[in-house]
Subunit: 347 residues, 4 copies
């Protein structure tokens, strides 16, 4: 007998909410009952997410009309979910938040990062950081899941095995994220205006990226982490390179073994390091719509530096797919359920 | 009890073969047993189609090592399949050809179109033109399926309801296809060199496009059909506009009714004509990886001209997905099996 | 002795005004004295047009602070220039309007096209339609220049020789314009949002394009003209194909001769029709920043149909460069002055 | 009295040679007399560089037909110029080499970098490294100019002021270059095939980039320099970010002053660091066709880390324009001659 859960999506007119909706509609155990949007209430969801034409007859409702559901997915702007969390907790047993509101454990770090006090600091401890590769056991049966940030995920998954195996030296790690335009959301702005963006490479956060805090939380260790984010002409995708230092004598093969050891059984991590051909390293081009995080690396044996590379679709493994993977674990379902899409080539 | 069929793909290193492979790997009733490539024999298929990493351990074999399979899919260059068709017929009961070799019924038309005699004209009558919307009944139980051409499909599906309902006037129809770069195949060439193509709009066939012949075969009537094909910076996708004339007095609503009447039950055709918003008409952007053909139109009531628009992914509804839909029908399976992907937004 | 003229640009924060500013700054006989922008008054023009960093210290002023200049260039939204034309006429002897306000000679056609009465119909006769190839003699000494529309220019220049030589048959002409995103202007909107536009091909005007009126005005004859406009992922550029019918017996060579006869001495028209290679026809990719209109064609000798192709940069030959060419003629200067840029390859 | 010099371009069918040709045709003091291409000998240069249609009637010749010229520009593949340098020296007084053959002073470094002995090590001392910002005085009257590498130029110009002012600390510098597809040259390859490149972000050199050697030569100091190069969907352009460490207490304003002090009079360097708007930092989008290097930075005051950013057009400031600037200096001409193009916005 199959087990069905109802899902309500709050803030479903943005890209993250729309992507979760797409995935949930294709998930055998989920039934989407409501999708809210203040701006588009009354319109068919397929008007805003035209890929869903013929897939659903749902219409947006206002959040005020939200009814109970087994699972409530919050796809609101940052700092909106926390302020209304009690309201949402009354609607569903399981809450998934796609925003940054509940990712950080330490209210002080939250304040330093987001520039204001957390509205419900006492609740931060209830939430699991939504990253299956690091927190799978905590996710089983979890009812509060704070989905990890997209750039943070690409950084964390690239570096985690070095941390876990204790080989990351306490030296500066420089990570550069190349990011597609969908990461900035569905609202038109001057910086997203096609003529200004189509041929552009633009550093949008040179220092002080907010995801630094969650990456440091998840990657304990005595190493300074420096994140720089650059916008690219891609729509979806993040490619992150991270320069890290490991002890002398580590070979390419040693690093390979380390990543195999840590990630060998992960359903959504692929180690991509091929000797020849044009697809030797991770490339977000191949990941649109998929939940994969592809990870590669190259050793600079003379200096003990390893250049790590990770690629994800920011809206899937970076947001909605990652969240669904967490939900699958939380409910004890097959972890890949609803996340089977292989990706396209060419794309 | 589920029914499984084995599939062998001949010529699997190109984009069409690779796309069929991707779809077949996700199809519950198909089991891909062999994939041939003379150039890449011995390599894992995921080396050439890196989206399939972790999805299959198949390696390319040479065609000479081909063994029997229930279904043989031919993804060879035009004019290669027909010359060796007896060889392939010995390997499988059902043959699907993705090339142009068996699409035309009339050997004379074939010669006029392709500039040489057909090698096995006596066999042309055995093949069903692989278009479910026009030939569903013939496809049931079919064992020879000649998959329709991609540009031809976009033209045929746009115009077919006017033909079927007898309202297309005998005047010139001008159809313009805007085509992505994947339609030219997987081999690098001067015209596909990224610096020469990325920002380019280039007419590559102003007059005399070969798909004219199959479009005319499938769209009987006394109207001259003029096809022009233009390459665009998209990778996947065809957007076709076709200017056709219908009798005075036909309103926008009449045309809508006509298309609903003909396509109302089609699982992969969506009529897209929305009064407002930015997604008012078909757009190939939304169709990457899907088997949809989206069709829209606009009436010029003063002149009786209707501007039809159709969008497809050239590799899916234009090739491999269309072929799989035909196979589903041929085997009596659910028509949408393995073709459920909804497409991405944004993309 | 060089002759200098002062120029004021009204509405200089948009793309058309910015492009005229770029060209004027590089013109040896022009001195830009003022640039207005209500929204950006007080800011350096290089803040809005960052390509001009280090090229000018001009700051935007409000239109109310406009002083006299030899030439006033109006780069305002459609229907703004005409309403204030008396005000602008008081500021300068020569007025160039980049909008549609003064292009049409007939107030009735204006009303039918733009949906309202022209505010100053009595002045329409004073303006020269700003197209040097058709109106060079009228432009000499002209003081009112209504710069031609960008899509209209690509259509007019493609068809004009057939009209001039009297060989265009009175049959339907279908013209399709593929247009870059800069043609929609500098203001962000849902349709220009990068994630929605980057991979898109979208018909934005299937029937009833407003440029039909000016194209018909400039191309007298008894042929119905049908314009369809499609947005593409390019930023700059228009590629237009036009299907026209000419008498039986006309060969490819005849058409070539006709175009050579009409355009042989034109400094900015190149006939592009090459037997081999990848650059056989016009391609807007090659024209970014240039004032060229490249024109090519292909004959369908069986039907007497000629497929014409024209490519321009919508902001240069489509707007600001075209206007500057007109100004050069009006002042008796070398026609190519300030318009020498060759364009880039690759681009 | 104007002074004219004749120029012969050896290897003119590639992108570097074609770009030099474009610039030289627009230079008032240069007259291009010959352009060689073994592959395209006999064809008009505009067949290969279609932007030059109507600009020149030159045809490619074979290198064997090379005659004397005042200036010989070598645009050959790496390691081709040095092997035939005596032959070319006999043809012209001034030799400009666009390849890497004469950039390195130390034959040992050359061997370590390029994997073979330099064919004419005794000549290395005769060449000036072609970077005006560092070697302007040496370039005056120079007759052997080894044009700097494109990625190297972006790294060198970003870091040079810190070196010159002695504030760069001896810590690891991580520099990441995002590179357009034209940097890989004009020959089609699997990696440049449009469907594989258009949506791709691909690390192509994670460690051991060859330009490290010339950057280290030009940036003396005790700091390890790590270069990573990533291919992007741009055609032209390099955006480099470099993470460098400077002493505690340096403020944003101090760094600004340092860059102003060193580059304040440079005609082709612009310091781009704007407090608001979307064009706050360097962006290669704005530089297509220009000789600018735009440089920006952001301080991480807590750590003393400065994130430097530099943007160039790899074919202009990265190659042909840089070379022409050197030639202008060598001949005592105005340094900006022939390099006046401002760049486009939008682009």
């Amino acid at each position: 007998m199959s087990e069905h859960k109802t899902v309500a999506i709050v803030g479903g007119s943005g890209y993250a909410g729309g992507e979760f909706l797409r995935l949930a509609l294709g998930h055998p155990n989920l039934k989407v009952t409501q999708v809210t949007s203040e701006r588009s209430a009354g319109l068919p969801v397929s008007m805003v997410h035209p890929n869903l034409r013929g897939r659903t007859n749902l219409k947006f409702i206002k959040a005020g009309a939200l009814e109970d559901a087994d699972i409530v997915v919050l796809a609101l702007p940052h700092n909106s979910a926390a302020k209304r969390i009690v309201e949402f907790e009354a609607k569903g047993r399981v809450i998934v938040d796609l925003s940054a509101d509940f990712r950080l454990k330490d209210p002080e770090v939250y304040r330093a990062t987001y520039g204001e006090d957390h509205p419900t600091p006492e609740k931060l401890g209830e939430w699991v950081y939504g990253n299956p590769e690091l927190h799978r056991e905590e996710l089983r049966g979890a009812t509060r899941i704070a989905c990890a940030g997209c750039f943070a995920t690409s950084v964390i998954l690239a570096l985690y095995p070095l941390i876990k195996l204790g080989v990351l030296l306490p030296r500066d790690v420089v990570a550069t994220g190349l990011v597609g335009s969908s990461a900035a959301g569905a609202s038109a702005s001057d910086s997203s205006h096609h003529p200004e963006r189509a041929g552009s490479l633009r550093v949008y956060k040179a220092v002080g990226h907010r995801h630094t805090a969650e990456a440091q939380q998840e990657l304990p260790g005595n190493f300074p982490l420096h994140l720089t984010a650059i916008s690219t002409p891609l729509v979806r995708g993040i490619l992150t390179t991270a320069h890290a230092w490991i002890p002398d004598g580590y070979s390419d093969r040693d690093v390979w073994s380390a990543y195999r050891e840590v990630y060998g059984n992960e359903p959504f991590i692929r180690i991509v390091k091929v000797a020849k051909g044009i697809h030797r390293y991770p490339d977000p081009m191949l990941l649109d719509g998929t939940n994969y995080c592809d990870i590669g690396f190259e050793m600079d044996v003379d200096t003990g530096r390893v250049v790590l590379m990770s690629a994800i679709d920011n809206l899937v493994k970076g947001t909605a797919g990652h969240a669904l993977q967490c939900l699958n674990i939380a409910h004890g379902w097959e972890e890949t359920l609803g996340l089977e899409f292989a990706g396209l080539h060419p794309a």
